[in-house]
């Protein structure tokens, strides 16, 4: 079979990358479980083996949810970025290109300033109302862009521009609210925008998993449609892709993925942008691998950032959103300079 050699070479490369990625994921998971506010401590291993009940509490109630939140949020954002870059055919597309961060920040500010979450003692489920409000505004933002795309027949690049415009609009709305808010409320909204893994409890982790898994499976089976799209809409249609429907479904799913991550954890930048590019550089631009492996790379990036956030200024744990942007910019510039495609 003439294809055999090519398929074997491709499989070998893919297996090496998957093996290295899984090793890194497990390594960083372990390191993060051993790292607390006081930095990396290997004596934790003996405490864990001796079934120290206090230590078990720390692991299962604090560190494990945090690690899982990093893995899930990284996967959600990585997959969301890969989908957006594919359907919008733009290498700079990411969960935040379509105005999602601006919309989420407005939703959170609205809950905190107008609905009085956090500062209002009556509101017992304040974090839920903030997340819900951020989630709803994110979906409204995406809904507007999708409706414009469908009924005004916007091209992918016009959709990105619409997203940038809407992002600025929501940013202005947030500033408007902040102008009339008191100091406490302003600091609460500002603090919310720093992405923070510690916000996640087991409930959030369950919801994030339930959103991620079915969408991931859907794209495992429809990766080829994304590749067909990369030749242009006409070409994709002639290969059997209902382009308009696929683009809408994909953007809806990508928005849901990032909306969930952002509304639970705050704004975590650059992961969604970089994760797909890492795969594109090592494996090529075939969306079979970009969609399959971007979540894994997203998880690794976020675990790495979480580890650094705990050790850089120990015992202070920096918000992860700051770290991903710090790490993201140099990695991104490096990738841009290195990219040979």
């Amino acid at each position: 079979m003439p294809q055999l050699l090519a398929i074997q070479r491709r499989a070998k490369k893919r297996n090496i990358i998957i093996f290295v990625s899984i090793f890194l994921l497990l390594f960083l998971t372990t390191i993060n479980l051993l790292t607390g506010a006081n930095g990396l401590d290997f004596s934790d291993i003996s405490k864990f083996l001796n079934a120290d009940s206090n230590f078990d509490l720390i692991i299962f109630q604090i560190r494990l949810p945090r690690v899982l939140a990093a893995v899930l949020a990284g996967s959600l954002l990585g997959l969301s970025g890969a989908i957006m870059q594919g359907v919008l055919k733009n290498p700079l597309a990411s969960p935040f290109t379509l105005g999602i961060s601006g919309a989420a920040a407005f939703g959170a500010s609205f809950a905190i300033i107008v609905l009085g979450a956090y500062t209002n003692e009556q509101s017992i489920n304040s974090s839920i109302s903030v997340s819900l409000s951020a989630f709803v505004t994110t979906l409204i933002c995406m809904g507007i862009i999708l409706l414009l795309g469908k009924f005004a027949a916007l091209s992918p690049s016009s959709m990105i521009l619409a997203g940038v415009g809407l992002g600025s609009f929501f940013h202005a709305l947030t500033m408007f609210l902040q102008y009339f808010a008191d100091d406490m409320e302003v600091s609460a909204t500002l603090f919310w925008t720093f992405g923070e893994l510690g916000k996640a409890s087991w409930n959030e982790i369950t919801i994030m998993s339930l959103v991620l898994i079915p969408i991931y499976i859907y794209f495992l089976f429809s990766h080829w449609k994304m590749d067909a799209l990369s030749f242009g809409d006409d070409s994709a249609k002639s290969r059997g892709v209902n382009v308009d429907r696929f683009r809408m479904i994909s953007l809806l799913m990508a928005s849901l993925l990032s909306a969930i991550a952002v509304s639970f954890l705050g704004i975590i930048g650059f992961v969604g942008l970089i994760a797909p590019h890492v795969i594109k550089i090592v494996m090529g631009n075939s969306y079979r691998w970009v969609l399959t492996l971007s979540p894994l790379i997203g998880a690794i990036l976020l675990l790495g950032a979480d580890f650094l956030s705990k050790i850089i200024l120990s015992p202070i744990i920096l918000p992860i959103g700051i770290l991903t942007s710090f790490m993201g910019v140099p990695i991104f510039l490096y990738l841009l300079l290195k990219r040979s495609y």
Binding site: D234, K237, V243, K280
Partner: protein, 261 residues
Amino acid sequence: MSLIVQNINFSLKKTKLLDDISFTCKAGEMLAFIGPNGAGKTTLLKTITNIYKKNSGTVSLFDEDISKMPFEELSKKVAYMPQFNEVPHISVLEVLELGRYTYCKSKLSDKDRSVLDVIIKEFTLEPILNTNISRLSGGQRQKVFLASALVQEPKLLILDEPISHLDPKNQLDVLRVVKKITKQKNIITLIVLHDIQHALHYSDELLMLKNSKVLYQLKKDDVKEEHLNKVFEIHSKLFKEDRHTFVFYKHSHSKEEKGLH
């Protein structure tokens, strides 16, 4: 007739882009579309492939009405190679595989692989299967696109200016392959060509379009100078020699240009 296109009308923002177009084509034959820029050749191809929704008209392929068929079904019968393909950074094998997903949806079966094998051998693509398509020369790239259209096992192959960016040798190579496959697989090929000489040599019939209308559908041996002159508004001369037809154009000079000579 294996392909019957009847009374296709298509307008965009009140501008009529196709005006009552009808034509037919037999299996195993190549029909070349010729006509000046803006005549409606590409638009016609896109309405046949349902990329543009026609206002009226029918397309029957081997006695089956395909004029409203969804893309998923249509792609098993019709393969379309657009005039401009974006070139992503994926390997040649991955490009070829794309043509089979319409049949298998997620994982290629042994049958899909064997279809690929035949095409790979036919186009001698084996040495470049793992090469990134963006690194290939224009000629090689067009061959890969053509191969990936054939992987769909179409009954109707539609090619929009497949040779316009190629050097003469690659132009002839691609046209020879298209002609051979059309006969061998007994399919119908619609091809847009700007080179009238190529159209007269390789196709069986010519469909001449002008101002959104069909002016003539003629067998290649019936094409006369007056037909070309009317379609392109030029002064042409046809010379036949040894089964080849040569086309010459008479150059007219403006007064200013004449002054320079």
